[in-house]
Amino acid sequence: MRAARLANVLFYYSPLALLAIAWDLSSRFNLIAPELAPSPGATLAALWTLIASGELTEHVGVSVYRESVGLLSSIAVGTVIGIGMARIEWVRILLRPCVTFLYPMPKSALIPILLLWFGLGHMSKIAAVFLGCLLPMVTSSYNGARGVEPQLIWSARSLGASQWGVLWKVILMAALPDILSGARIALALSWLLLVAAEMMISRNGLGFLISYTGETGDYANMFAAILVVVAIGFFSDRFFLLLMRWALRWRDLPA
């Protein structure tokens, strides 16, 4: 049973292995110039040295710290603002113009001001992630909280829930599917913004590692770092998906 599942997974991802083999063969037979792409062997060796020296752990730690602080705070703040806008009219009137103007703005445009405001430390990157993910979170929680059936709210009220209690016992829960799918998009966006910001303004983190090794022509290390970033993006999405399935297990989930 377990073996069969493992075999299935291996078969599913076999095209990736095929690509790796193609990469290996073409570097062995000099089909691509070595200065354009290091061989898989060289890349793996570089990865191993990065791990063994502890350098990778440090950069990964810095990046994960910035990403999670920025993302989690944007989820928390964005959800509160979105639900507030959906359920309280004066909040909606105050914030609607900001949201309509800021929503279509490419989130990455803020990175240069953050450089001006916060300099090179953690804060500029955390802020980039936070500000970039804030609006997607506001709009998804707003949409979720707008559509709550009034009868659910009334049921809760006639079972003794207070008006404020209803906000998080009913409206937050009813909006959860929208909030979580917004958060999944924000998760992908957060890594994009973080890596980009680290490439531009940083002295550490994975984005810095990639751009620094690239600038110094150390391509084996650069490829290794890129592989790590891609892997982190992939696995964090998978992990989030599991979390989402669990949190929404009360729903008929689409496949």
């Binding site: 659910l152 009334w154 006639s158 003794g160 829930a161 209690g165 009360w250 008929d252």
Partner: protein, 250 residues
């Protein structure tokens, strides 16, 4: 002292167009303690609106509603409601739904669990405690909604076409269960239905409403018929139908 008093109740909904909708024009009605009153009327005549006003979910446009001589202000656990489409919390299990109101009252976990279990058993859902509502049939979901409301032990029970979405067989079973529950734990019940026969079987009085704007057209005492023979029930239902038919054809 009556349990519930409707005094010249009026409800107007503002709409986007110029003309507001007068849902309820003028209703006077008193309901005794532990009385079972059904409300029938053409659809759109304001039956749900009347229950929502009593529940305190929406505001009056005129008149007042008294419960134990105190005006209604906002929803409260003294009035439980059961909706046609159940309105269960889909993210809570059966147990979680039934415990909701008990938790709001601050009852300790162990006791909450025990009370909830009693009501789950009462509506014959033993064994489904940890099931989520989307895995249950319509009839079972409505049983959960009934248990959830009864667990709070409200003095007034508002039911808005509670069996309307169910098949005939399930409806029949739930009607009998409701009567049995009502005869054991006395409650004042306001029961909206579009099924005249159901109204006769269940209630002590049937209120017939006019087409919109809703007013009271007739109030019929059915205590003599409800326990009686099928023929007596049919005759009374036919009588109410004939009153209602005038409104439907308007």
């Amino acid at each position: 002292m009556p349990k519930i008093t409707f005094n010249a109740v009026r409800k107007v909904f503002p709409t986007d167009s110029v003309n507001p909708v007068v849902a309820i024009d003028h209703i006077d009605l008193t309901v005794r303690h532990d009385e079972f009153v059904s409300i029938v009327g053409p659809s759109g005549c304001g039956k749900s609106t009347l229950l929502y006003l009593l529940g305190g979910f929406i505001d009056l446009s005129g008149g007042d509603i008294l419960i134990d001589d105190k005006p209604v202000s906002g929803p409260g656990p003294d009035r439980g409601i059961v909706f046609q489409h159940f309105a269960l919390f889909p993210w809570h299990t059966v147990l979680g739904n039934v415990e909701f109101g008990l938790a709001e009252r601050g009852i300790a976990k162990a006791e909450r669990r025990e009370i909830a279990q009693r009501y789950i058993d009462m509506v014959k859902l033993t064994g489904f405690e940890n099931t989520f509502p989307n895995r249950l049939s319509g009839g079972m979901q409505q049983r959960v909604a009934l248990a959830r409301t009864l667990a709070c032990d409200p003095a007034v029970l508002l039911m808005d076409e509670p069996f309307g979405a169910l098949d005939a067989q399930t409806r029949h079973i739930l009607q009998e269960e409701l009567l049995e529950i009502w005869s054991r734990q006395k409650k004042t019940v306001l029961f909206v239905t579009h099924d005249v026969r159901e109204a006769v079987i269940l209630s002590e009085r049937v209120v017939v409403m006019t087409a919109r704007p809703g007013r009271i057209k007739a109030v019929i005492d059915t205590r003599a018929d409800r326990g009686g023979s099928s023929a007596a029930i049919d005759a009374r239902a036919e009588h109410i139908w004939s009153i209602l038919r005038e409104e439907l054809s308007r």
